[in-house]
């Protein structure tokens, strides 16, 4: 066994605070991992990410939400209903929300397509923000929207590798939201995201005899053993709850 090789137990964990996910992962996400949260609309991706950040902030970890598609004030409407949310987290700067379009503006990125230098600049600015603010938990919602502006597969690969490597070296655990169509194969729009990420968590809809169930499945997580079974998800004011998907019935559709 190589000297640097470590067992699951030795790797420091980032407890998501979502009990069931921490249980499935045998103690949380390995610290510093970059994880893709992939799913179609309305499957709970943003709620999972917001809970991950609030729970972290409550635990004293600086947490940052980089929003691409939704303005911060609209997102905050989703935060307040959580029973465990406390105003002080934002006042103390433990929980921060930044609109990525504002970051583009500051960096002078005004064209729709990002060239190589602009892509590098964006990755470096995110990493610098994480370093300056001592961020331990980061959410980028969504990486798909950023990739739409990068367009070129090679540059997307470079952006994600740079981001992942730098954030990991700063012990920052990152969730990248990936928007996919329910009919799509794979876990990301460009195919690159899932290959580079340390982990892939898939949310979806499952139709069973006319009922539509929200599901969650962890298909990949480097640095830990974990269940790969499908769970049913509920988004509540107490946070995200999961129970095992019952297998006794006939399943007529996938998701």
């Amino acid at each position: 066994m190589a000297a640097k090789e470590r067992s699951d137990d030795e790797r420091e964990r980032c407890l998501t605070g979502i009990d069931a996910i921490d249980h499935i992962l045998n103690g949380g996400i390995p610290r510093g991992n970059t994880v893709l949260i992939s799913g179609s609309v309305g499957t709970g991706k943003t709620s999972i990410c917001i809970e991950f950040l609030i729970r972290g902030a409550l635990n004293g970890e600086n947490s940052l939400y980089l929003s691409v598609t939704e303005p911060t004030d609209k997102l905050l409407v989703n935060v307040i209903p959580f029973d465990f949310f406390e105003d002080r987290l934002m006042k103390q700067g433990k929980l921060q929300f930044i609109d990525l379009p504002k970051m583009y503006e500051k960096l002078g990125i005004d064209k729709e397509d990002l060239d190589f230098d602009q892509t590098r600049l964006l990755a470096d600015t995110i990493v610098q923000t994480v370093e300056d603010q001592k961020i331990r938990r980061l959410v980028l919602d969504s990486v798909t929207s950023v990739c739409y502006r990068i367009k070129d597969q090679e540059r997307i690969r470079d952006f994600l590798l740079r981001l992942g490597t730098e954030l990991s070296s700063k012990d920052c655990t990152t969730l990248l939201v990936s928007e996919i169509m329910s009919s799509e194969e794979g876990y990301s729009r460009w195919g690159v995201e899932e290959a580079i990420a340390d982990g892939v968590i898939v949310t979806g809809n499952l139709e069973r005899r006319g009922d539509l169930l929200r599901t969650l499945q962890i298909v990949k997580m480097r640095g830990t053993t974990h269940s790969r079974a499908k769970y049913v998800l509920d988004l509540t004011t107490s946070g995200v709850l999961l129970v095992p998907l019952l297998k006794g019935g006939s399943v007529t559709g996938g998701g």
Binding site: R209, L213, V232, S238, G248
Partner: protein, 192 residues
């Protein structure tokens, strides 16, 4: 010795069981409301338990109306109602009721029970499943057994009481086997 009422019998039998017990309660339909009264008013109140009442038999509002008529407080009773939605009921939803779209959404029943138990985690709880027979109308035996097995073991690990109603008139061999598998005790009403 005078005749023992159903309500008193239920309270007495449940009172003799230990915490974390899963009880199959076999009753006739004419004993239904008396059994509910004994369980909620006499047993749960005396033990100071929170109650999560999962109903797939009749709408929660009908049970609430009956409890109000009997002047039983529902301050510590919450309902997971799996039947009102598919009945397209227009009745106003009580603040203590959570709706599950259909009795076929068994995972969602577990999730709502979990949600309510988390909300009131400082108190001991009684979970009532009313009834195995009505759930069996909407679900096949395999998935229903799996549901009961997971739910009951989860509740047992939390130290909660679980009571599963089973109506004599609608019992099948499969239902009886299922109850034997998941419950610690079977309480037969009207046999004492």
């Amino acid at each position: 010795m005078g005749e023992v009422t159903v309500a008193a019998e239920v309270a007495d039998k449940l009172g003799s069981l230990g915490e974390s017990s899963a009880i199959a309660m076999r009753l006739r339909t004419d004993q239904y409301f008396d059994a509910i009264q004994g369980m909620l008013d006499r047993f749960a109140t005396k033990k100071d338990l929170d109650v999560v009442y999962v109903t797939s038999t009749i709408p929660s509002q009908s049970i609430i109306n009956a409890l109000e008529a009997l002047e039983i407080s529902i301050d510590h009773i919450w309902f997971v109602d799996c039947i009102s939605q598919i009945m397209m009921s227009k009745e106003k939803r009580h603040a203590h009721t959570i709706i599950v779209e259909s009795p076929t959404m068994l995972e969602n029943i577990m999730l709502k029970v979990e949600f309510l138990l988390r909300k009131h985690s400082d108190r001991k709880a009684l979970i009532v499943l009313d009834s195995i027979n009505s759930l069996a109308i909407h679900n096949n035996t395999k998935i229903l057994s799996e549901f009961l097995h997971i739910l009951v073991n989860n509740l047992r690990s939390r130290g909660a009481y679980t009571v599963i109603f089973s109506m004599h008139e609608y019992e099948t061999e499969e239902i009886r086997n299922m109850l034997v598998l998941v419950s610690d005790e079977t309480v037969e009403l009207g046999t004492s």
